[in-house]
């Protein structure tokens, strides 16, 4: 590989239900903040890696082009990336390729999302995710898929809704300390179980909120990174993997594609025992059970074991393996692509010791962020180290 790549700066907007700013303006705010954080200007940036979710959410065709100016992309090599919910980790993976190859020395990664434009809600857009001939005539809602997967996961390993609800309690509480959070809350397991039942086993508080927001990071090759910062955070491994779009033919209890993505990233990063070496992680948590499902796919827990780690407090911020210390999508919010990049930023800050009240104890040296998307079929993984 051409060169080692570090994250040297980061920025983001608040995540809110509906922002006055357009997607371009949000992208600009986050990108400018990221450049300011490491003392660079757009002139210092060689290329742009942009991530955003389906065009249908905005009603803007070719959203990559639409968001390109706010992302600093004009008159530069610019690429838009999109793998549904997996986008927020996919965009930095591709920024890494640009710099690791040696073709570019710096890359600005920007993810921006307006979930509020599809008004009053994006269900009509979500419906088109299903196969138009064999599934859409059944009038599915997106929640069906998650409810079906949640139920299969629960039944396969004998897990209770009560244990899974604890993910929401933990993450919304963690989000209280996140300055950008959309839905920080102090709640109980019973609050989750008693919230509106949408599609058993999914209650309202099992689901992350749809948000507007943007996030950005700055990547640099090793020499430049060392010149610009004392605390570079290295991207040591990247991985992604796509499973079948015939989602009903998969083993819904286990995200095999996430395991494949993780193994790719671990091999690159020289990680042999993820349970010991990954000290802190931000698995994708758009729904409560997904955090647990993904911990297992990432080999951070045995199959069916993640809920017990949660119940035992292992995944709390002060536990042995903090999971979603940011507050995750459930607490910080879910502007699709920006939510994934927010997770990368959280690990970056934690490894620099700059996570404020969210800082986990023990000076972690190695962490991971992961996202998930398309038709519940892609895993995107990035492994970061601070030395």
């Amino acid at each position: 590989m051409g060169q080692r790549v570090a994250i040297i700066g980061a920025g983001m907007t608040k995540f809110v239900r509906r922002a006055q700013e357009t997607g371009k303006e949000l992208a600009w705010q986050a990108a400018k903040a990221a450049l300011d954080s490491c003392g660079l200007t757009l002139k210092d940036i060689d290329c742009i890696s942009m991530g955003c979710a389906p065009d249908a959410f905005d009603g803007v065709h070719m959203k990559g082009e639409y968001l390109s100016d706010g992302s600093g992309g004009w008159r530069k090599p610019y690429m838009r990336h999109f793998v549904g919910g997996g986008t927020g980790v996919f965009a930095p993976i591709h920024g890494w390729f640009h710099v690791a190859s040696g073709v570019f020395d710096t890359c600005l990664v920007v993810c921006s999302e307006k979930m509020s434009s599809c008004h009053p809600h994006p269900q009509g857009a979500f419906k088109t995710i299903f196969d138009h001939t064999t599934e859409q005539p059944l009038n599915p809602t997106l929640i069906w898929i998650f409810a079906l997967e949640y139920n299969r996961y629960m039944q396969t390993y004998g897990i209770s809704k009560r244990d899974i609800a604890l993910v929401s309690v933990k993450n919304k509480k963690n989000a209280i300390d996140h300055p950008a959070a959309h839905l920080p809350m102090e709640i109980t397991v019973d609050d989750v179980l008693n919230s509106e039942l949408l599609a058993w086993p999914v209650n309202r508080l099992d689901i992350s909120p749809a948000s507007d927001g943007a996030a950005a990071i700055v990547l640099a090759g090793e020499r430049t990174a060392r010149r610009l910062t004392d605390k570079p955070v290295w991207i040591e491994g990247v991985g992604w993997n796509l499973d079948t779009a015939y989602w009903a033919t998969r083993d819904l209890a286990y995200p095999r594609y996430v395991e494949k993505a993780a193994r790719m990233a671990y091999e690159m990063a020289g990680i042999k025992e993820p349970k010991k070496e990954i000290e802190i992680a931000e698995p994708y948590d758009p729904f409560t059970y997904k955090e647990l499902h993904h911990m297992e796919g990432l080999l951070l827990a045995e199959k069916g074991e993640a809920p017990q780690l949660l119940v035992d407090g292992v995944t709390q911020r002060d536990g042995d393996r903090p999971i979603c210390p940011s507050g995750g999508l459930l607490g910080v919010g879910n502007p699709i692509s920006a939510a994934g990049l927010m997770k990368v930023i959280e690990i970056f800050l934690q490894l620099r010791g700059e996570a404020g009240k969210r800082q986990v104890p023990g000076n972690p040296t190695c962490g991971l962020a992961q996202a998930w998307g398309d038709l519940m079929q892609i895993g995107t993984v990035i492994v970061l180290k601070n030395r």
Binding site: Q123, L138, L148, L349
Partner: protein, 183 residues
Amino acid sequence: MELEKMKLGATPLKESDLKEGKVLSLAMTPDIAYAWDNGVAIGRYLEELKNGRIIARKCNKCNRIMLPPRMFCELCWRATDKWVYCKDTGTVNTFSICYINWDASRIPKGQPPHIPAVIHVDGASTFMGILHVLGEVDPDDVKIGMKVKAVWKKPEEREGSITDIMYWKPLRPAQGRKTAGRR
């Protein structure tokens, strides 16, 4: 750098800010229509549904009998070999009891919920599930592993659609055992 020390962008709006005209917005409903070609494999699948039968496609290399049928095997990356009829019975792999409609509107109290399920159809390979819905069953009686049978529209009402199967019902009536309920 710490997020706490940065001025974070994004100005939150309230619903009332828009209603009261404090900020302006523009609304548009796209006027677009599509006609999707069914293709070769799904075209035949739908024709057979109209005949009251479920047809799959077999790959002779991996020996999978695939639903929905496909003209190429995505794993062996070769053309599939032959058509194979399945039964109209199957097993519930997973299910949900859904109290909202596709557009997020709520099902009125007293009306039955939707029961979407992944059904493994008999005669297709293991794990060849399709998305469909269950009916003629009390939501509390639905179980993973339950055997079900397709309930078809009358032949003259079928139109070559996945909805020619109205729903799947339990192969055997409930045994009078009641579960605790899921609400």
